[in-house]
Symmetry: C2
Subunit: 193 residues, 2 copies
DNA sequence: CCTAGTCTTGACCGCTTGGTACAATCTGCT
DNA sequence: AGCAGATTGTACCAAGCGGTCAAGACTAGG
């Protein structure tokens, strides 16, 4: 074997992710990605093949490390009301502290779905489905624990929570202020009591 | 005076709007706009000045003809629950019937705000604010009429309805199916009863 | 009927885009 | 030391980008 890569591939995906996350697929140029990763053009194409493939990898990494990781932690609490409150609270906090207003890469991509192909659509739909399932399971668990009223329909309530979360993430990109975001969180919890 | 323009400027804005609406600002090229409007490049620049100015005009037209028109009609009903239900129902219907999944141009642009300048941000924020005010007024009216429980906080409930609407529009772009959209509508109404 | 003045047309501009080719470079194994 | 083989930087590509411009087309007022 000749030699190792002189750059960390995962780190490069990470840095590319940041750019795609902030600017979206179309608005991100190869020049942006080269600058962000610090890698040379040739190396980047050698390592990833194309802009689109790099985007898919970045999206997958985001999905894995941001969404799945967060939901996993919260599910482990086995305390639905707290888990859902923490989820919304962390989204509010993230939105307020992020001056670039990157929002959520999954949501950003979801709104851009018609401009992407099946690969990307599948990842986004799976992520959304997963969120939906998370909410549904938490609601069902809360109902069995008695912390959530039994008359709430888990399926449609979960879908509403998902929509609220998505709406929150969109509005956080510059169309709403802190009071607005907090109100959304508050009403999300109101759906469960 | 020499002669009139040989094309209908408003119609051209309309056709440009369709493209921007479906593909977003970045992904729309001048070639797309020329094809959609059927106008020559020089004429288009002569009439609008730049791609960005055309976008702003298209966005303003959308805001005026789609959003303001719809809200105006609904407000005239003076029946809050019906008005809000009709609003959500029409969004669901529009989403289902639109095979291009264009969504809502205002929402699409809202998610893209960090890539736009102040002009665009102002239009989007004004539109969202207007929706918020619409909901708030309808809720207050419903409470004074007795059709909406007095314990609902108009401000935060309105913000939640806005977030649900935005979420609905995002998910309708390919991440959710009809059942999901209907569930969101149903829960929006549940917030008011 | 002619001239003034705007609109239209299509070629053209410089620049950036995503992507490729290749020679030079460097490291690990034998 | 020397070979093998992936990595590297750079030069390069065609295509597309947003935008400009000069010349022709055309109509209204004189």
């Amino acid at each position: 074997m000749p030699w190792q890569k002189s750059f960390d591939v995962e780190q490069a995906v990470d840095q590319a992710m940041e750019v795609f996350w902030a600017k979206g697929y179309e608005a991100t140029s190869m020049a942006d990605l080269l600058e962000a990763t610090g890698i040379n053009k040739g190396s980047l194409y050698n390592a990833f093949g194309s802009k689109k493939k790099l985007f898919v990898r970045a999206l997958l990494k985001y999905d894995r490390e941001q969404r799945q990781a967060a939901l996993g932690e919260l599910a482990d609490l086995e305390d639905p009301l707290t888990a859902i409150e923490l989820l919304f609270e962390s989204m509010v906090a993230k939105s307020l502290s992020d001056k670039d207003c990157k929002g959520c890469m999954l949501v950003n991509t979801a709104l851009d779905l018609p401009n992407h192909d099946g690969d990307v659509a599948r990842i986004v739909r799976a992520g959304m489905k997963d969120l939906d399932v998370f909410f549904r399971q938490q609601i069902a668990l809360g109902q069995s624990q008695g912390s959530i009223p039994p008359d709430r329909d888990p399926a449609s309530t979960a879908q509403a929570l998902l929509a609220l979360l998505v709406g929150l993430r969109v509005l956080a990109r510059g169309a709403s202020d802190e009071a607005g975001l907090r109100a959304i969180k508050q009403q999300a919890l109101a759906l469960l009591s």
